[in-house]
């Protein structure tokens, strides 16, 4: 089992992600420099708060290229929350910002009204079911291996990713009729919009699947 290395670029609270991986018995490391990232086998890119401050800080610390390199070298890379959003081309949160471009698509605000036209609460906070995106038959051979369809996980976000390639969508969720991108995957690149480290046993199962990749 290879080590899990979390990228600590000075944004937000990374402790709960670390605790979850340690609880799972993972060989857990933290990367603070491009050199640390280059030595890693398997990377976790967390992120909370505004997209621009996350990607800006990652860039300012000179880590963007190292993350892209790791992805190109086919090392497993898992983005969580804003970490997932950063995998995409662009985000429209507080202006248009470039992401890492490892997945094709944009990050946009969750519509402020439901499918029925009712205004609803933003951020979307709560336990919401993971559903199979159209065209996907099951979650075998994925990070959701052994997770039942409709299992509920904890979300807190105001923005959601819109992948260009529908094949990148591993799991969706819906909030008052608004379709959300819950998990994405393309090759060795994985993204989780919700918080697996705060989603009880289901979340731990997903992280364990990443540990065991």
């Amino acid at each position: 089992m290879s080590a899990v290395t979390m990228i600590d670029y000075g944004i937000g609270n990374l402790l709960s992600v670390e605790r979850a991986f340690r609880h799972l018995g993972a060989d857990f490391k933290v990367a603070e420099t491009a050199a640390d990232i280059r030595m890693a086998d398997k990377l976790v890119l967390p992120g909370v708060g505004a997209f621009s401050s996350c990607i800006g800080t990652l860039e300012a610390q000179g880590l963007c290229d190292a993350v892209k390199e790791a992805a190109e070298q086919e090392k497993p890379l898992l983005g969580i929350c804003v970490g997932m959003q950063m995998l995409f081309d662009t985000s429209e949160e507080f202006g248009v910002h470039q992401g890492l471009g490892l997945l094709k698509g944009r990050v946009k605000a969750i519509p402020a009204v439901s499918a029925e036209g009712q205004s609803h609460k933003i951020p979307h906070i709560g336990w919401t079911s993971l559903i199979l995106p159209e065209g996907r038959k099951n979650w075998e051979q994925s990070l959701l291996r052994d997770v039942p369809v409709n299992a509920e996980v904890y979300f807190v976000h105001s923005y959601t990713a819109y992948p260009v390639d529908s094949g990148d969508r591993l799991a969706d969720a819906e909030y008052d009729g608004c379709l959300l991108s819950a998990m994405v995957n393309r090759g060795n690149v994985y993204g989780i919009q919700f918080h697996p480290e705060k989603s009880g046993t289901i979340g731990l199962k997903i992280l364990d699947n990443f540990v065991k990749l």
């Binding site: 205004s119 609803h120 709560g126 039942p148 976000h157 529908s166 819906e174 009729g177 608004c178 705060k198």
Partner: protein, 269 residues
């Protein structure tokens, strides 16, 4: 490219969002306590024991509130939060005595996912924005302790329900959301510990006026109270405290009952 926001076809989207069932633990010193109308404190026991039980029972979240921190200007919660968050993998909101971005950071480093701010925010509303900008709005919970001072008029109280700020609850809730609070924890001082049900008028007034989720707190007596808080009060989440602490009921019982009453809650696997 898939449709922005809305699904294309003919799926059934009628199911409403899950309401969060939150176990609230009020703390004094090292102890879990129960307060009636935020006064008359009784010691119940070790908060961690209870927190573990609620996690095992499938609580959607936990709230820790240090009831006297702002009164005595100290903060005892760090050790409790640290011990809890090592083995509990659901969101934990911690409040009581948060006076600065540094206080918030210390609680986050101890293992909190969100911080709740009450007293200091009323004195220095800029703190709401500072915390939201530093850690994200999802992290900044505005805690409002409301008391009905005259019919249909609620004022914001601080320092454990002892002092009336004179602020109107509705105005304050809107201002808090404008300033960056990602969630509002709305406690009815009148209902706290009474088992008479949540204050539905108060909850609805606030919930319908702010764009962010509102947690109704204070007054749980029976599952119907949760249904009413959701259907009539438009609460996005409900907090339950002493009914759990004194084992009058359990979270699985509540979950099952409210489901039967037509409230969507998550299915704990």
């Amino acid at each position: 490219m898939w449709m922005a926001g809305y699904p294309p076809g003919n799926r059934d989207w009628s199911m409403s969002s899950n309401i969060r069932l939150i176990a609230r633990l009020d703390i004094k010193g090292a102890n879990l306590i129960k307060a009636v109308n935020l006064e008359g404190i009784r010691v119940i026991g070790d908060p961690n024991e209870h927190a573990k039980r609620y996690y095992a029972q499938g609580a959607d979240e936990l709230i820790y509130m240090d009831m006297v921190a702002s009164l005595y200007g100290r903060n005892n919660l760090h050790d409790i939060v640290k011990a809890t968050s090592d083995n509990i993998f659901i969101p934990i909101t911690v409040g009581g005595g948060v006076r600065s971005v540094q206080d918030a950071e210390a609680l986050l480093l101890a293992g909190a996912d969100k911080v709740a701010v009450n007293t200091e925010a009323t004195k220095n509303p800029g703190l709401i924005t500072d915390i939201a900008q530093r850690f994200g709005a999802q992290c900044m919970v505005l805690s409002i302790e409301a008391k009905e001072v005259s019919p249909k008029k609620w004022c914001v109280y601080v320092d454990c329900g002892r002092e009336n700020t004179g602020l109107d609850v509705l105005e304050w809730a809107k201002e808090g959301a404008d300033r960056g609070a990602g969630e509002i924890l709305l406690t009815s001082i009148d209902r706290e510990g009474t088992r008479q049900g949540y204050d539905l008028e108060l909850t609805r007034l606030v919930s319908d006026s702010v764009p962010v989720p509102v947690i109704a707190s204070g007054g749980f007596g029976k599952p119907e109270d949760i249904r009413d808080a959701v259907k009539e009060g438009h609460a996005d989440a409900v907090a339950v405290a002493d009914a759990l602490h004194y084992k009058r009921t359990t979270l699985p019982e509540i979950r099952q009952s409210v489901q039967t009453l037509g409230v969507s809650v998550r299915t704990v696997l």
